[in-house]
């Protein structure tokens, strides 16, 4: 390809303006080798060019040989080929029908052959080079078979085998140079069949062992053994991880029936479950176990018994256990002299570490999926491809496949109609739409605010009633009112929001989904926000052990939310399924609403994060909840639901969900915790921080204590100079901003580069198309020639483009008629005189003839050649013209033998353009040589020829313009170029001939 690009670029006549500056840079491998390592490089054009070249070089017989023949006989006959060759390789034999070989395997070998060309591969030793070479060579080693088909390409088999061996050697050398893990990865990444990989690996190993046997030492052996065992260990770990992978079979089943979109919900659920498992392990290990080990029995006041209602309310018996903040002591455990366990610090740092780790994990996964799914997913391109590529190969259920096909078809049709529909709406309609948007947004936000304030007043009311409570069972149950209302709001309002779908009309369905998600997030977060506000403001001031009280509220919320999720599955999915299938058929089977379900999960997780400080063992409840939810949803979905109609964009939705989980949810929970820790006074009566001003002062006390301990100064230093210093944060911020700016600039530069490269690719594509067209022209004329090989002998004109050919033929025929007419009427006459007198009329006639040649060549049939047998089935003017000329020529040649003035014939041919003159002259010379009849004085012949040439030059100038404008198949700028080349060539030939 590159070879090709260069040759074109070197040609100033073609690339004039729109080739980029990048084009002119010296050949770089980054341009030449496909960045994707194109291992299946079936660039037809490149292969074809190569094929053509090889044909040209090696085919000993056949069309090309005769072509070369013609070239030697007729000096200008090979103008095209020669001039092209002069520039670079020229594909003459393009697209020659080769039924046994158009297998791509050849092309691969061709391609790699290409890669080896010096132009493409400037010697370089950079690692980059190695990798690209490696990729390039991969193409070759990809398909080491298929040499049999190559024979007729002109490469000898040995040649190709050598090439391939060299390539393979290169690959192996590069592989040997790599480290073991890299090598395994690289070999695995080769897109070739297993046996080929095995072969490469075997070669590498042989090479390696050979090398090793030469320099053997103990250290290398040891490190080798160590590496090997390390790798084995890693493989075992992988295996163990995979074995422990939860719900693998279930996941596969769900993916097989409902596709990746629904599967992503379950993956998300699993991911959150992992968060909670981790959180539970950390909290249980560092907080609860130390507490229990010193104080195994909970300090439950007498009279409080486990009634069973606690599981729902979380209060009562539970409120005195390690379930909540209040159950932990503030003591420093352990006797003097031994390392001691400070419960305050343990409590603080465990939760801080967990939150930091959660944040890091969230940021990491968010950044990763954002990069993968948003930045790379170009919104401008790929709607149709995105649909086509989203086909789920994992779907195995026959019914699901049919459903998916239907959905895909509808989506494809929609994507087609979307393009048409854009911007057709009149202004009034658009205004109406905007009004509807405004109305729905105001309504939804109003509903959210209303719900939040309602919940706030409910809290106030509940507190009032709680003050008068007597501790009865009923009072305890009444605490469930608030979580019940909150969960009910969370269940009902989203359904209400989804009704908006009916009246709103978004330009595309994705916008609609985003709008629904945004509204739900606003609702949920405003409810949680108001609850947090209530806890911070009211509960924190009044309650005796307010942290435990908040923990209980959160516990209730979590549990009741779980119940509502179950109810939601039952009502939302089971009941609507029953209704849809039994009662109202038009509703149909409900779809699994991924967005709503994921938002429920996010809400639940937010509760768990908020609650982790107030109730360290809340993750246990959350774990149980998610675990049960997984099976519940699985059963519900397989029984009741059908896969969502819009499967596309599942990956982007996943990113959005992670982002929502991070931004309002995690960040909100974190800020609430931070507020609690830094500013709120912990309750005096219970918990690890009793007696302190704020929770954070535990750390301050610790630092003050450390100040006196030798060997711990660095912690103090870090605390003073890093954590509590403004300059540090200021510097960090500055550095981050600088990095952001740098990256922003890089992005800008890359965008520019991408657009330039795109343009360059388009230009090179144009080059390719242009050359292909030329080649096809040549090919066509070659085929024509082959078809008429016998009747026309080897005419050099046949190699010219058909347009030119046609014009020339018409002209030539006219001349021949003229010649024969002159012949018949005058018999023996002074040749030069005769020609002189006919030229001007011949010009006129040629012009007319050319015009007619295209349309009504048939009319000529009868005029000069009435005696000739009629041309059978004259389908095209071209064929007819060819045949007519043939006849005229044979007649003329007959005349040669009869008449004593053979030199007339070339002269008669003169009134045509230069080409004709040249050909005629050539023929005359040949004939002279052939017959070698010494009667005619050579000098007179050559004199005539000289005259003829001069005339022809004049003629040519006269003809040039009309001739080129008459060419019917003028193929853009290219044919102009070729004609210019032709003209130059002719003039050069003239010079050569004359001197």
């Amino acid at each position: 390809m590159s070879y090709y690009g260069n040759s074109v670029y070197n040609n100033p006549g073609y690339h004039d303006s729109d080739t980029l500056q990048i084009d002119r840079s010296p050949p770089r491998k980054s341009v030449h080798s496909n960045p994707h390592g194109n291992p299946y490089p079936r660039d037809q054009e490149a292969g074809a060019v190569q094929t053509g070249r090889s044909d040209n070089q090696t085919l000993p017989g056949g069309g090309l040989a005769s072509y070369d023949d013609a070239q030697t006989r007729v000096p200008w006959g090979g103008w095209q080929e020669e001039s092209w060759r002069g520039r670079d390789s020229i594909p003459i034999g393009l697209l020659s029908p080769r039924p046994e070989s158009p297998h791509w395997q050849q092309d691969i070998n061709q391609e790699s052959h290409y890669d080896k060309s010096p132009l493409v591969q400037p010697p370089s030793t950079t690692t980059d080079h190695v990798s690209t070479r490696f990729r390039g060579s991969r193409r070759m080693s990809l398909f080491p078979v298929g040499e049999a088909a190559l024979g007729n390409l002109g490469f000898s088999e040995d040649h190709i085998r050598n090439e391939m061996e060299m390539e393979e050697e290169n690959v192996i050398k590069e592989l040997v140079a790599m480290s073991t893990t890299d090598r395994i990865k690289a070999i695995r990444d080769l897109p070739m069949s297993f046996n080929d990989k095995k072969h490469v690996r075997g070669q590498v190993l042989v090479f390696k062992s050979f090398k090793k046997s030469r320099r053997r030492n103990c250290f290398a052996d040891c490190s080798e053994t160590f590496q090997l065992s390390f790798r084995r260990c890693g493989a075992h770990m992988m295996l163990a991880r995979q074995t422990l992978d939860l719900w693998q079979g279930t996941m596969k089943e769900i993916g097989g029936t409902f596709g990746t979109g629904v599967l992503s919900y379950f993956k998300f659920l699993k991911w959150l479950l992992m968060f909670n498992v981790f959180s539970f392990l950390v909290n249980f290990g560092f907080i609860t176990i130390p507490q229990l080990s010193y104080d195994p029995t909970p300090a439950v006041p007498t009279g409080v018994k486990f009634t069973g209602l606690e599981i729902l309310t979380g209060s009562g018996y539970f409120s005195h256990t390690v379930m909540y903040y209040g159950g932990y002591s503030n003591e420093t455990r352990g006797s003097e002299g031994r390392p001691r366990y400070n419960m305050q610090l343990a409590y603080f740092f465990t939760i801080a570490a967990y939150m930091v780790l959660c944040g890091a994990a969230l940021v990491y996964s968010m950044a990763r999926s954002f990069r993968k799914r948003f930045v790379q997913a170009d919104p401008a391109t790929g709607s149709a491809w995105q649909l086509l590529c989203s086909w789920d190969f994992s779907v195995t259920n026959e019914r699901a496949v049919r459903q998916r096909r239907n959905n895909l078809r509808i989506q494809l049709k929609e994507s087609l109609s979307d393009k048409v529909r854009v911007a057709l709406l009149p202004l009034s309609d658009r205004l109406k739409h905007y009004a509807v948007f405004l109305g729905t947004w105001i309504l939804s936000t109003g509903v959210a605010v209303g719900c939040a304030s309602g919940i706030y007043f409910l809290c106030q009311f509940e507190k009032g009633s709680a003050d008068e409570s007597t501790g009865s069972l009923l009072d305890e149950a009444s605490t469930l009112l608030l979580p019940f209302v909150v969960s009910l709001v969370n269940l009902v309002i989203p359904l209400f929001y989804s009704l908006f779908r009916k009246i709103e009309q978004y330009p595309n369905p994705r916008m609609q989904v985003y709008a629904i998600i945004l509204r739900n997030v606003i609702l949920k977060m405003s409810i949680l926000g108001i609850l947090c506000y209530y806890w911070m403001k009211n509960v924190a001031e009044r309650s005796l052990c307010w942290e435990s009280a908040v923990g209980q509220s959160l516990y209730r919320l979590v549990v009741v939310d779980f119940l509502f999720l179950m109810l939601g599955s039952f009502f939302g999915e089971f009941l609507s399924n029953v209704v849809g299938t039994k009662c109202i058929q038009s509703l149909g089977v409900p779809e699994f609403d991924i967005a709503r379900n994921v938002l429920d999960l996010i809400y639940a997780q937010t509760l768990a994060w908020i609650g982790i400080y107030f109730s360290p063992l809340l993750p246990v409840i959350q774990m149980i909840k998610f675990f049960a939810l997984f099976y519940l949803k699985k059963v519900s979905i397989t029984r009741n639901c059908q896969p969502p109609r819009r499967a596309g964009r599942a990956a982007q939705m996943q990113t959005i969900f992670i982002a929502i989980l991070f931004f309002p949810s995690f960040v909100g929970a974190l800020s609430m915790l931070a507020y609690t820790v830094w500013t709120l006074p912990p309750s005096d009566g219970c918990g690890p921080f009793r007696g302190l001003d704020t929770t954070f002062s535990a750390v301050q006390v610790w630092i003050a204590y450390l100040d006196g301990v030798s060997g711990a100064h660095w912690i103090v230093w870090i605390y003073r100079h890093v954590i509590r210093s403004e300059i540090f944060y200021f510097l960090i911020t500055i550095i981050i901003l600088v990095f952001i700016y740098i990256f922003w600039q890089i992005i800008k530069g890359r965008k520019l580069l991408i657009s330039l490269l795109r343009q360059q690719i388009a230009n090179e594509g144009k080059d390719k198309a242009f050359l292909l067209e030329k080649l096809q022209d040549v090919q066509k004329s070659k085929q024509n020639k082959q078809r008429k090989k016998r009747p026309t002998r080897n005419r050099p004109e046949d190699e010219t483009s058909p347009g030119l050919l046609q014009a020339l033929l018409a002209r030539q025929r006219l001349e021949e008629e003229d010649a024969s007419a002159a012949y018949n009427s005058f018999g023996v006459s002074v040749p030069s005189e005769r020609t002189m007198s006919t030229t001007s009329s011949a010009v006129m006639q040629a012009l007319i003839a050319r015009q007619q040649a295209g349309s009504q060549a048939g009319s000529y049939r009868g005029v000069p050649f009435t005696a000739e047998p009629p041309v059978p089935s004259s389908t095209s003017a071209l064929i007819q013209a060819m045949q007519a000329r043939q006849k005229a020529e044979s007649q003329a040649e007959d005349g040669f033998h009869r008449t004593p003035a053979p030199s007339q014939n070339p002269v008669n041919a003169l009134p045509g353009a230069m080409i004709q003159a040249m050909q005629a002259r050539q023929r005359a010379e040949l004939e002279e040589l052939d017959r070698s009849e010494p009667e005619r004085p050579v000098s007179s012949t050559s004199g005539v020829i000289m005259q003829a040439r001069q005339r022809a030059e004049l003629e040519e100038e006269f003809y040039r313009t009309p001739a080129s404008s008459q060419v019917p198949d003028n193929t853009g700028p290219g044919s102009a170029l070729i004609q210019a080349m032709l003209a130059r060539r002719q003039i050069e030939d003239e010079y050569v001939d004359e001197y």
């Binding site: 994707h36 660039d43 292969g47 997913a377 590529c389 599942a650």
Partner: protein, 189 residues
């Protein structure tokens, strides 16, 4: 499980592990499933081939619209009849596994979509592809006008060098921009 492990041999197994993206368990499972497809007497042959029809009877492939193409692409048999050896089968599973790279996946996807094996996705390939995805029957396929428009859109999106076909690098470019591809180009035994 134990019997299949002994059938495969430790060296062979580790070689398979090294050269494919599959784990030991997956390879063993694949071997088990593959052996089930073979007749009793074939199992003792050095490298038995399973004809395409039998491979297609696997539930994982049965309803796949590209099942025949998949077999043809991964088959290394000399007359291209789509029959698979165990190694071909592993290749198939490896390319469709979770851990295969995007490059491998897109490479094979391109070959699967390239119905006439000519190295580029031209209009006819794309038409076949769309028909495969939407269903072949008369009432499910797109009308010729829609098809023309769709193929026009596809080429406009992806044919960067404007030569009327989508070649591998253009295809890989498109693929790298459709994030759903990696997760959906997957077959798990």
């Amino acid at each position: 499980m134990g019997t299949t492990a002994s059938q495969l041999g430790k060296d062979l197994l580790s070689e398979y592990q090294e050269l494919t993206f599959l784990t030991k368990q997956e390879i063993l499972l694949a071997h088990k499933r593959f052996s089930e497809l073979l007749a009793k007497e074939e199992r003792s042959l050095p490298s038995p081939r399973v004809p395409m029809e039998k491979i297609l009877s696997l539930p994982e492939l049965k309803s796949n619209p590209f099942k025949k193409r998949i077999c043809h692409v991964f088959s290394t048999s000399d007359p291209k009849d789509g029959s698979l050896t165990f190694e071909d089968f592993l290749d198939l599973l490896s390319a469709f596994s979770d851990s295969a790279t995007l490059e491998i996946k897109s490479h094979y996807a391109f070959r699967i979509f390239d119905f006439d094996d000519d190295g580029t996705l031209d209009g006819r390939d794309l038409e076949k592809l769309v028909n495969c995805l939407t269903g072949e029957t008369e009432d499910t396929r797109l009308t010729s006008e829609e098809m023309r428009q769709l193929i026009g859109n596809i080429l406009e999106e992806s044919d960067i060098d404007k030569d009327g076909t989508v070649n591998l690098s253009e295809f890989q470019h498109v693929i790298s921009r459709s994030p759903d591809f990696v997760s959906s180009f997957k077959i798990v035994l």
